[in-house]
Symmetry: C2
Subunit: 502 residues, 2 copies
């Protein structure tokens, strides 16, 4: 036990807190039926693992109805969303998720999911719009002598959660090295009418603390863990993603030639997931250098881009690295720590900062209609995939907003370009560039009719192009040409025949 | 002519410019086929009147094809949009319009209309995304000794238009008194990467100049006019608007009681038009006082609110006052000038400032679906009404975003609450409160299913409530319950039978 004691003192520097160390089971007792529990965790990095699992086991053993509202930064891993969803313990969930049992619970109607812009959550909590936060559970690498929290692989909404929660449970995860200390930049805006400008002028600017200030009397339990984040490895980069990356790089070169972008572009944002990672990875082979990233997730591709000099700095809210990626990061942590910064999601996704810096946004779509409306969330208009995440925060405020999607899905049975989106997350007013493996549609300054022809001709798959043009041409005249009785017919056909093809 | 000379020197203080005074017909010669013409004017105040009319007459007389791209701040009057639309001289139009012949041109497919967020336009021009601006035509009350322009009743996009245009035509409108000088606050953000925080901390803050700096060598023509803005009088306040205002005031009181809003609320934004004006006018009868307005248009109701002490200050981009309202304003201009400020639309509608100040947004919808998606623009999904205007700028960044609409239109044949919007301008992620004369739906923190029941029960008209519930209940399970084959059936029924009723 000598080694453990030493480790404890190394990780919990405020002595009075040492006696709050307990087992996950003991800590989970603080969580009662009906409570609102808010946790660290962002896409899915730095979320608490042991306490939620212990709670889920207790609930499953008792077989009594038990529901909490679960608020997080963004998506979290199986130990949290999965365990609690399988225990049927999630009443309300916000603002973003990707875990399959949680998703099933949402789509079967067992979980009330509130799909929110990631930048909205902190303010909604701060303003009291989401009720009282009973318990915050946060993963940390250490607690300082002042009782302040050093977060782990993400920042998310953790600052506002620990500030507003009645009590705090800390999971100190020794899987993360102490050297993470210093990668975070914690800044919290005041409430109106006292709110001031967020003083970020460059993506590299540090404006806050490397720790989260907290009243340590609220820390009622500390649980020691040693569990890695469960982040999936990225899929192999496919041909469609490679093609999309090529189109994007060509587009950037064109904008540079037209003097609308500087040689090293403006700060880049890239969405979550394999396609986004692959598109970003495509930049490795470009001849761009000294790029800067101002995004929400730092995925594996960013390490490659830093290593070969394409990217000189990356600001995000989480280290969303695959098991191989995180190993690589930890093996060279002092090198990467100079080039990577983690911010609260209300800062990484702040409209104010995004518009000021001129961020170029690149997000993936589920489907896009011929007028440029984007569905990012609901398959066939009804089944939640993940959520809107930060795509709206970036898209609306970007210097140039870009959406990528392969032109077809399900081996061609689904066209990602449709007459009318079955759910609209980003309207025609927000979407400036569409990229598929077929090509690129630059929609800036185009009317809906010009957009429709451009999207169909440049981006739709040839198998669907003719029928899309037919839909467009047959529409009665108007500002936008739609046949309302046919608008959703492609989706209905898919639901009935498992293909959008006639 | 002595009087005229004196007047000229009074209005054109830079002597070298006196020889650029000419007739509207002479000035219009600068405008050639294929040019992009950008003008002052916002909803519809402070737009140029004589030169566009002269241009339209020349085009109609010649009967040769002649098209310009017409960019403005927002909507403009008949002398500009109407005359040029009737002359078939508008090729592309952006970012907002309300004039009936222009609207007809758009819906008949003769005018390419680009419906943009009002806050986006300046940046798009500055970044070169909308091409070269050949000519700027701006209405002014005077030109200073330095050759700088004192705008008239609006600011809109005028600063960026005169900065980027090749040449400038100024209409000095002596209908506006010289005392307008001082009401404007002209601030232009730099381009990234040099852009700094917009230094507004309170709605009352002045951060710029009372004039538009301009290279006076670019002023090629000055035309003297004496024509009022053609702003329609507001409709009588109807019962539905009165009811909506009552619901809103009750809601504000509730939020104050819950300590989520201070006694004098946060700055208010209110949309354009009679319903918005009526809802704002409802505050006159409330017991709120010392309110502040941070909005885009200053409509008649604001004068009433200032006069009775409800409002102590109003910041906007235009004086959208009826003939009676502008007379009242001019009769007491020094009094009102201390309490009203006009800003460029990229500042009045700035996401950064709106989120910092905690602005409460109130905009009107054409239709709202049961999940809280809002259609602000296209009747039956295809026919442009006005445009999105600033509603998205405010809604997305508001402290609380509110949409108002009477629950029915066309004497009950249209339900404003529908299963699925026929065009989506604001998604479920953005819309927090819905108000009809029936009641109020507070959607904050609700899942789609909770939203649907709340909107149907609280806001739909009783004639349609049962059928909406039936639609909702019959939908297959999912995160969102939709029957895709029925989703747009209400609109199709209206198109066929001229009523949404079964």
């Amino acid at each position: 036990m000598v080694g453990v004691t030493y480790m404890l003192k190394d990780r919990i520097k405020k002595e009075e807190l040492l006696n709050r160390v307990m087992s996950p089971q003991e800590a989970a007792v603080f969580i009662k039926d009906g409570m609102t529990v808010a946790t660290s965790g962002f896409t899915p990095a730095g979320y608490p693992k042991a306490v939620p699992k212990a709670l889920a086991e207790r609930i499953k053993a008792k077989e009594e109805p038990f529901k909490i509202n679960l608020y997080t930064g963004a998506s979290v891993g199986d130990e949290l969303d999965g365990e609690l969803a399988r225990a049927k313990a999630i009443g309300k969930r916000l603002p973003y998720q990707t875990q399959k049992d949680c998703r099933r619970g949402i789509n079967q109607g067992n979980i009330h999911y509130v799909d929110m812009h990631l930048s909205h959550v902190s303010d909604f909590v701060r303003y009291g719009f989401l009720g009282n936060i009973d318990v915050a559970i946060v993963e940390a690498v250490a607690i300082t002598e002042e009782g302040f929290i050093i977060p782990s692989t993400s920042l998310g909404n953790t600052p506002v959660f620990v500030e507003t929660a009645d009590i705090i449970i800390v999971e100190i995860n020794t899987h993360h090295p102490l050297e993470l200390w210093g990668i975070h930049d914690v800044y919290q805006p005041e409430k109106p009418p006292f709110r001031k400008p967020i003083p970020i002028l460059k993506a590299t600017d540090r404006i806050g603390d490397a720790f989260i200030r907290v009243d340590s009397k609220k820390i009622k339990a500390i649980v020691m863990t040693d569990i890695p984040d469960s982040i999936a490895s990225f899929s192999e980069i496919d041909k469609a993603s490679e093609k999309m990356a090529e189109h994007l790089i060509d587009f950037f070169h064109l904008e540079v030639n037209k003097k609308r972008l500087p040689q090293n572009l403006f700060p880049l944002q890239s969405g979550v997931g394999s396609v986004a990672n692959a598109v970003l990875a495509g930049l490795v082979k470009s001849n761009f250098y000294d790029l800067v990233i101002y995004s929400e997730v730092i995925q594996d591709a960013v390490l490659d881009l830093i290593d070969n000099g394409t990217v000189k700095f990356a600001s995000g809210s989480s280290l969303t690295l695959s098991p191989k990626g995180i190993e690589r990061f930890y093996n060279n942590i002092n090198y990467y720590k100079e080039k990577i910064l983690l911010r609260p999601q209300e800062i990484s996704n702040s409209p104010e900062v995004i518009r000021r810096l001129g961020v170029i946004s690149m997000n993936t779509a589920i489907e896009i209609d011929i007028y440029g409306h984007v569905n990012s969330t609901n398959i066939m208009g009804t089944n939640m995939m993940n959520g809107i995440g930060g795509s709206g925060d970036f898209t609306r405020n970007a210097f140039i907003s870009i959406f990528t999607t392969p032109s077809i899905a399900k081996e061609g049975d689904i066209s990602s370009i449709v007459p009318f989106v079955s759910h609209c997350d980003h309207s025609e007013h927000d979407v400036q560039v569409v990229v598929t493996e077929q090509g690129i549609a630059d929609l800036r300054g185009l009317s809906p009719k010009e957009k429709a022809k451009t999207i169909i001709n440049n981006c739709a798959h040839p198998d669907y192009r003719h029928e899309l043009l037919e839909y467009y041409n047959k529409g009665p005249n108007g500002h936008i040409k739609h046949q309302l009785n046919e608008a959703l017919s492609w989706h209905m056909r898919y639901l009935q025949k498992k293909t959008m093809k006639r």
